[in-house]
C-alpha cells in the first residue's frame, strides 16, 4: 500500500496533509488494518483545540477502542460528517477518509513528523 508522499505521519499511525496554515488529519491504512472493521468514530467539535501528542478522539472497532493522537496543535475547523453514518469509509480508503481539518498553531511542529518513506519503514519493522 503506497503511502502518499505529500502526507506526513506519526508513530501512532495518524497522517496529516498540511496546506499553508491549515491541515487535514486522518489515520493510516496500517491503522485501519490493525483495528479491523471500524464501527464508530468519536471526533471533537468544531472550534475545539487539539494539542500535539494528546488524544483528541477515538476510533472503535467491535472489540477495541483506540485513541486518536494529535500530530500537531491547532483548532478544529471542520469535521467529516460522513464518518458518523459510514465509518467503514476509513476501512475502504484510510488515506482519503479524512477526520478533521484544523488551522495550525505552530507549523514548525510538522518538522518532527515522519515522511512517507520513514513511516513505511517503521510499519515494516513493527509488523
Amino acid at each position: 500500500m503506497p503511502y502518499p508522499t505529500d502526507y506526513k505521519y506519526t508513530k501512532e499511525h495518524e497522517w496529516i496533509k498540511a496546506d499553508g496554515k491549515s491541515a487535514t488529519i486522518g489515520i493510516t491504512h496500517h491503522a485501519q488494518e490493525s483495528l479491523g472493521d471500524i464501527v464508530f468514530v468519536d471526533l471533537p467539535k468544531i472550534g475545539s483545540e487539539i494539542a500535539v501528542g494528546k488524544a483528541f478522539g477515538s476510533v472503535e472497532s467491535v472489540k477495541a477502542v483506540s485513541d486518536l493522537y494529535a500530530p500537531v496543535s491547532g483548532t478544529v475547523t471542520e469535521v467529516n460528517g460522513d464518518l458518523a453514518t459510514a465509518p467503514e469509509k476509513i476501512n475502504k480508503d484510510a488515506h482519503s477518509a479524512w477526520m478533521i481539518k484544523i488551522t495550525l498553531k505552530d507549523p514548525n511542529e510538522l518538522n518532527a513528523l515522519l515522511p512517507a518513506s520513514d513511516y513505511e519503514k517503521f510499519v515494516a519493522e513493527e509488523g
Binding site: V39, K63, A64, V65
Partner: protein, 460 residues
C-alpha cells in the same frame, strides 16, 4: 464429596500423568508459612436432608404466611408458576454470559425481547439488559446525565426513595457531583416553584421518582419542561413497575431508571432484584450495562449478539461508562416471562386491581384517621397518620399475622406518626378490614385516654 466427579483411582492416575507425588506438590508455590495446616472452622459437611431442614428452620423463624402491607421499593405480587418452571431449566439457569453468541442464542433472544418490552412500557427508544437494581440504576442514570451534559450538579426530589438517595450520595461523593434537594408540597408532589429556583447552569439533571416514595404520581411533563428549559436532563426512577400498566409513563423524561422486581421477581428479603435503564437512541453510547442487538449470520439468518461493547469495562477499562460487568440475566428472564404472561391486556388489569384494593383501603382508613396527601393521584401506596406510634400498632398487627405499613419517622420526621401502606392484587379485603379495625381501635383508645386526662385536668 458428592459434587466432585473423581474417584481415588482417578486422582492417582492424574497425579501420575502430571508427574507429581501428591497433591501437596501442586500447592508448593504457596509459601509454607501461609499454608493452612488445619480444617476450616465451618459447620461440618451436611447431608442434603440436613441442609433442607436447616433452612426450613430459618424460614420458620422468618415469619411465613403473614399478610403484608409493605411496599417502599419491594412489592409483593403474584408470581405465575411457569416463571420458575422455565428459568429452572438448566440451559437458562447454568448458562454463562452470552459472549459466544452462536451457543447462547436462547439467552440473547430473550434479552432482546426484554429490551423491546421495557421500551414499550416506558415509552423510551432503547433499554439495556438490566442493572443490579433500581437504586444503582438511578445512580448510574444520573452519572450518564453528567457525562452527556458536561455539567456536574444534581437536583434530587425529597420524595425519592431515601435508600436510593443514600446510594447516589455514596456514588457522587468521589465524582465531584454536588447534590441538592427539592421538597414536596401538601399534595406530596414536587414543589415546582422551588424546582425552578434549584436548577442552575451547572445542573446536569433532575432526579425524581414517580409514583414517588409516598405513593403519589408526579407531573412529569411539567417537571421535564422546567428542566429542559434550563438545559438539564430529567431522570425518572420507577420503583413499582406494575404502575406502568395503568399510569402514563414519563414520556418527556430523558432517562428512566426502573426497578422491575414487581414483574415476577421474589421479594427474597431484598435481592436479587432487577434494575433497568431506558433512554433515547441518541444517548445510547453513554448508557451503561449490556446491550443485545439484532444481526445476521453468514447465511443471512437472523441472530442476536452483545453489542456496543466498547462502552464496557473489558475494553475501555478506566474509560468505561461504568465498571459494571454483570447484568441480572436470570431475574431479567423472570421479568421477561412475567411481562409475556400478562401482556398488553393483563398488565392493565393487574394494575387496575392494585388501584382498586388501594382505593378501598385508603377510603376505609380515612374513616378513622388521616390519610395524607389526598390532593393528588396515587397508585398502590398511601400514607396513614395515626395518633399512636405506628410501631406500637404494627406490634399488635403482628399478633394477627399482619405486617403493617412502614413507619416513616426515620425518613420524614415532620410527618409524625405516619406509615407507608401498600396494597397489591394479593391484599385481601379481610386483611384490610382487620388492619383498619385495629387502627380504628387505636384511635378510639387514644381519644378515650385523652378525654380521661382532660377530664382529670378539669377536676383539678
Amino acid at each position: 464429596m458428592r459434587y466432585l466427579p473423581k474417584s481415588p483411582a482417578d486422582r492417582k492416575a492424574m497425579l501420575q500423568a502430571i508427574g507429581a507425588r501428591s497433591i501437596d506438590d501442586l500447592f508448593a508455590p504457596i509459601p509454607a508459612e501461609y499454608r493452612l495446616g488445619r480444617d476450616l472452622k465451618v459447620p461440618r459437611q451436611m447431608a442434603e436432608s440436613e441442609i433442607v431442614d436447616w433452612f426450613r428452620e430459618r424460614a420458620r423463624e422468618n415469619g411465613d404466611s403473614y399478610a403484608t402491607f409493605l411496599g417502599a421499593g419491594a412489592y409483593y405480587h403474584y408470581r405465575p408458576v411457569i416463571i420458575d418452571s422455565l428459568i429452572s431449566r438448566g440451559e437458562f439457569l447454568t448458562a454463562y454470559t452470552p459472549y459466544q453468541a452462536e451457543i447462547s442464542q436462547g439467552t440473547l433472544q430473550s434479552i432482546f425481547e426484554f429490551q423491546t418490552m421495557i421500551c414499550e412500557l416506558t415509552s423510551m427508544e432503547v433499554a439495556n439488559a438490566s442493572m443490579y437494581d433500581g437504586s444503582t440504576a438511578a445512580a448510574e442514570a444520573v452519572m450518564m446525565a453528567v457525562r452527556l451534559t458536561g455539567r456536574r450538579s444534581v437536583v434530587i426530589a425529597r420524595s425519592l426513595h431515601p435508600e436510593y438517595r443514600e446510594v447516589l450520595t455514596t456514588y457522587a461523593h468521589h465524582q465531584n457531583m454536588p447534590l441538592s434537594t427539592c421538597s414536596f408540597g401538601d399534595d406530596a408532589r414536587l414543589n415546582l416553584k422551588e424546582l425552578e429556583q434549584s436548577i442552575t447552569s451547572d445542573t446536569a439533571c433532575v432526579l425524581i421518582q414517580s409514583p414517588n416514595f409516598l405513593g403519589t404520581i408526579e407531573d412529569t411533563t411539567a417537571i421535564a419542561e422546567i428542566a429542559h428549559r434550563k438545559g438539564a436532563m430529567l431522570v425518572v426512577s420507577i420503583a413499582e413497575a406494575v404502575s406502568l400498566g395503568i399510569v402514563e409513563p414519563p414520556r418527556k423524561a430523558d432517562v428512566i431508571a426502573m426497578e422491575a422486581q414487581s414483574f415476577g421477581v421474589p421479594l427474597g428479603f431484598g435481592g436479587p432484584y432487577c434494575g433497568v435503564i431506558a433512554t433515547r437512541d441518541q444517548f445510547v453510547r453513554q448508557m451503561p450495562g449490556r446491550l443485545v442487538g439484532q444481526t445476521t449470520d453468514r447465511t443471512g439468518k437472523r441472530g442476536f449478539v452483545l453489542t456496543l461493547a466498547t462502552r464496557e469495562q473489558h475494553i475501555r477499562r478506566e474509560k468505561a461508562t461504568s465498571n459494571i460487568c454483570t447484568n441480572q440475566a436470570l431475574v431479567a428472564l423472570m421479568v421477561n416471562i412475567f411481562m409475556t404472561i400478562y401482556g398488553k391486556v393483563g398488565l392493565k388489569e393487574l394494575a387496575k386491581q392494585n388501584l382498586a384494593k388501594t382505593a378501598y383501603a385508603a377510603a376505609q382508613f380515612s374513616k378513622h384517621t388521616k390519610v395524607l396527601f389526598a390532593g393528588a393521584s396515587r397508585f398502590n401506596e398511601f400514607v396513614v397518620q395515626t395518633s399512636e406510634d405506628p410501631y406500637a400498632i404494627n406490634s399488635r398487627l403482628l399478633g394477627h399475622k399482619i405486617i403493617g405499613g412502614l413507619p416513616l419517622k426515620k425518613f420524614y420526621p415532620e410527618l409524625g406518626n405516619a406509615a407507608l401502606w401498600c396494597c397489591t392484587e394479593l391484599t385481601t379485603r379481610t386483611a384490610i378490614d382487620t388492619a383498619v379495625g385495629l387502627v380504628a381501635e387505636s384511635e378510639r383508645s387514644v381519644k378515650a385516654t385523652k378525654e380521661e386526662v382532660d377530664a382529670q385536668e378539669v377536676e383539678r
